[in-house]
């Protein structure tokens, strides 16, 4: 048996949006997460976080590379095998809880147990109760449907559901994203305790610095590449923008400047501005244009080099 809960080898993911247009969501990602680890993956939107999480969660397949979960190579499994695998090995916690709206708390927690075929109705009922107690959900809301619960309560139910089949790996996608600070902290505290006491492996994707603090190890992802330390550029202002977003920003500025240049020429023709002040303003605009053009090229360079 492998000592790793998750092993990714040179995982690439390319989305073909239309013929000729490809987005490289992941570029040669290598990752090894030890059993009982608690890791957090941080990164700006569009950096490939969710794609990475989906591939680890066996919900998506890599374009190239291999994926091993709990020592099992899942890369070539078919949909049915993956469903069985997910049922027993994986627990998911989503940002927006994703509970089944027509089922109450107990029924939601029971569903993975029933699907696993390992529990009878009564056993599943009993275990669902234990899990809901574990996540400290008030017994008064056990028979409530998700709409009758608060965000925190829903996330507790979702956590209990994720734990239902005692999965080796629990994957959390922005688990505190839809919760207030205190509720979010409570949920993370609970996750931390579970990790410590039951030795389950947790992989969390989040923007929340609190989540990063709970994690034993933090990874950073940017433009589809995974880093163990935050890359330099992450510290800068534009770090929250992806290269594509940055480029769009530059292009916009460029257009604005070109328009002001045209306006300036019109004003000169109509005699609104003197030739001297025209020359001075034009020089200023040209300088700025030059700077932005270099910026665009360098951001294109990022795309090309990656």
């Amino acid at each position: 048996m492998s000592e790793y809960a998750v092993e990714l080898q040179n995982v690439n993911k390319v989305y073909r949006l239309s013929p000729g247009v490809e987005v490289h969501a992941l570029r040669g990602v290598d990752l090894a997460v030890g059993k009982g680890d608690f890791i957090s993956i941080m990164g700006p939107s569009g950096s490939g976080k969710t794609t990475l999480l989906n591939i680890i969660g066996t919900m998506d397949r890599p374009t190239a590379g291999r994926v091993k979960i709990d020592g099992v190579d899942v890369t070539d499994m078919n949909e049915g095998e993956l469903a069985d695998f997910r049922c027993i090995k994986m627990g998911y916690l989503f940002q927006f809880f994703n509970l089944i709206s027509t089922l109450d708390a107990v029924e939601n927690v029971k569903l993975p147990m029933i699907l696993s075929g390992r529990y009878t109705e009564r056993e599943a009922d009993q275990r669902a109760g234990e899990l809901l107690e574990l996540v400290s959900l008030k017994e008064t809301v056990w028979r409530n449907r998700p709409v009758q619960m608060s965000g925190g309560e829903r996330q507790r139910v979702a956590l209990a559901r994720a734990l239902a089949n005692e999965p080796a790996l629990i994957i959390m996608d922005e688990p505190t994203g839809a919760l207030d600070t205190v509720t979010g902290a409570n949920v993370m505290k609970l996750a931390q305790m579970l990790n410590e006491f039951s030795g389950q492996t947790f992989i969390v994707v989040s923007h929340n610095p609190l989540v990063a603090r709970v994690a034993k190890k933090v990874y950073y992802i940017r433009d589809g590449k995974l880093y163990e330390n935050p890359p330099e550029s992450l510290m800068k202002f534009e770090s929250e923008l992806s290269s594509l977003e940055k480029r769009a920003l530059f292009v916009n500025q460029l257009r604005l400047l070109k328009e002001s240049l045209l306006m300036l020429e019109k004003r000169l023709e109509s005699g609104d501005v003197s030739r001297d002040s025209y020359a001075a303003t034009k020089l200023k605009i040209m300088n700025q244009l030059e700077r932005i053009k270099t910026g665009v090229e360098s951001s294109q360079g990022v795309v090309a080099s990656n």
Binding site: D84, N98, L111, G117
Partner: protein, 390 residues
């Protein structure tokens, strides 16, 4: 063990389907209503169609008995003497000669029937005398006429009426009685208006003594009809012999066409019902796309999701089927009453358990078939696409 686990999974997904329906009651009711209307149409049309077929065949049976009709090639060209020959055939219970002539009275079509007086009621089933007297063997130009004939021509008992006949031209008859007939398929003839006279008298009036247009042959045992037919064919090679069964078969062919038309009408409403189920399941799949993703993320397989949506389609169509059967039965009797209110016909309807069972099978099959395509599409969505769906 595995079987019980799968059963448990199915039970939970079935529960999900039931909850789905209960949270969208309005839509469910509309869908069920669509199927209800389709199935009710089917049940009513089939019940009425079956009833009509049954009514026609019983009345034909009464009319012809079990037997045959020996006819010549032209009108009134069968020697009456053959009746004695026919009666010699062992399986024949009874045989009597008749003359059947189409004619006109005051420009309106009518039928002149020449018949031995004792056989009138055998031939015209459901006949009851209203006024005057019945025929007697001594009658010459006396006739009894159907009430509708008398009414139409304004004739009373004791008066004289003239008929323009296809054989013999215009003849005068004295009306000695009127009768009424139960509304039946005697129908075609009955609607024309029947005037019946003593066979001998009619023969004399028409100057065709000793000749008749047909011989009615009664055979008591249905299984012997074919045998009798063979013998009669051998005895009278030139005669046209019609079996009652053949007439029935022809009527049945017409009934099949009518039924076909009725079923086509029902099929159209069933098609619409199917489309409404399809539309509903499409909407359900769209609304629950995210939940499909969630179910798949916690280990549900394609067939689990398929079972969920098909259960929903099945439940809706089952409810529609039950409601449709009830509405169909109620509707059938309502139509029967309605028809009776307008025309003096008692529509015979047959609500058979087979029809109801067939309607239920049709309802559920249509629901599941219509639900199959959208369900399959929903079940085949990849979990990540489903989860991303807004």
């Amino acid at each position: 063990m595995i079987a019980t686990a799968q059963l448990r999974v199915f039970r939970h997904f079935f529960k999900l389907a039931r909850r789905d329906i209960s949270v969208r009651k309005g839509r469910a009711i509309l869908t069920v209503f669509g199927i209800t209307v389709g199935i009710a149409t089917l049940v009513s049309l089939m019940s009425i169609g079956l009833g009509m077929r049954e009514q026609i065949s019983t009345e034909l049976n009464e009319l012809l008995g079990v037997g045959l009709l020996v006819q010549g090639s032209a009108t009134i060209d069968i020697p009456q003497a053959i009746v004695a020959e026919v009666l010699k055939v062992p399986q024949v219970d009874d045989a009597y000669p008749v003359i059947l002539l189409i004619g006109q009275t005051n420009g309106q079509p009518s039928v002149l029937l020449g018949i031995p007086p004792g056989k009138v009621e055998n031939y015209l089933t459901g006949l009851t005398l209203k006024e005057g007297r019945t025929l007697s063997p001594d009658d010459r130009d006396a006739i009894v006429v159907q009430d509708s004939f008398a009414e139409r021509n304004g004739i009373k008992v004791g008066e004289t009426v003239s008929m323009d006949l296809t054989v013999g031209g215009r003849k005068k008859f004295k009306v000695v009685g009127t009768f009424e007939m139960a509304m039946s398929l005697t129908g075609v003839m009955g609607n024309l208006g029947i005037a019946a006279g003593n066979l001998e008298g009619v023969q004399q009036t028409l100057d065709r003594a000793g000749f008749v247009s047909s011989v009615v042959v009664r055979v008591g045992d249905r299984s012997k009809v074919d045998m009798v037919e063979e013998q009669l064919t051998a005895m009278f090679p030139g005669a046209r012999i019609t079996k009652e069964e053949e007439i029935l078969r022809q009527i049945n062919r017409i009934m099949d066409i009518i039924n076909g038309v009725l079923l086509t009408m029902a099929s159209i409403s069933l098609l619409i019902a199917g489309l409404s189920v399809m539309n509903t399941i499409m909407m359900v799949v769209r609304e629950r796309t995210r939940e499909i993703g969630v179910l798949k993320s916690i280990g549900a397989k394609r067939w689990n999701v398929l079972a969920l949506f098909l259960s929903e389609a099945g439940l809706l169509s089952l409810a529609g089927g039950v409601a449709g059967c009830i509405l169909g039965v109620v509707g059938t009797y309502a139509i029967k009453e309605l028809v009776r209110g307008f025309i003096p016909i008692t529509l015979v309807v047959i609500v058979s358990p087979q029809v109801l069972a067939a309607a239920m099978v049709v309802a559920v099959s249509i629901g599941i078939l219509a639900g199959l395509q959208p369900s399959w599409r929903g079940a085949s969505i990849r979990p990540i696409e489903a989860l991303r769906y807004e």
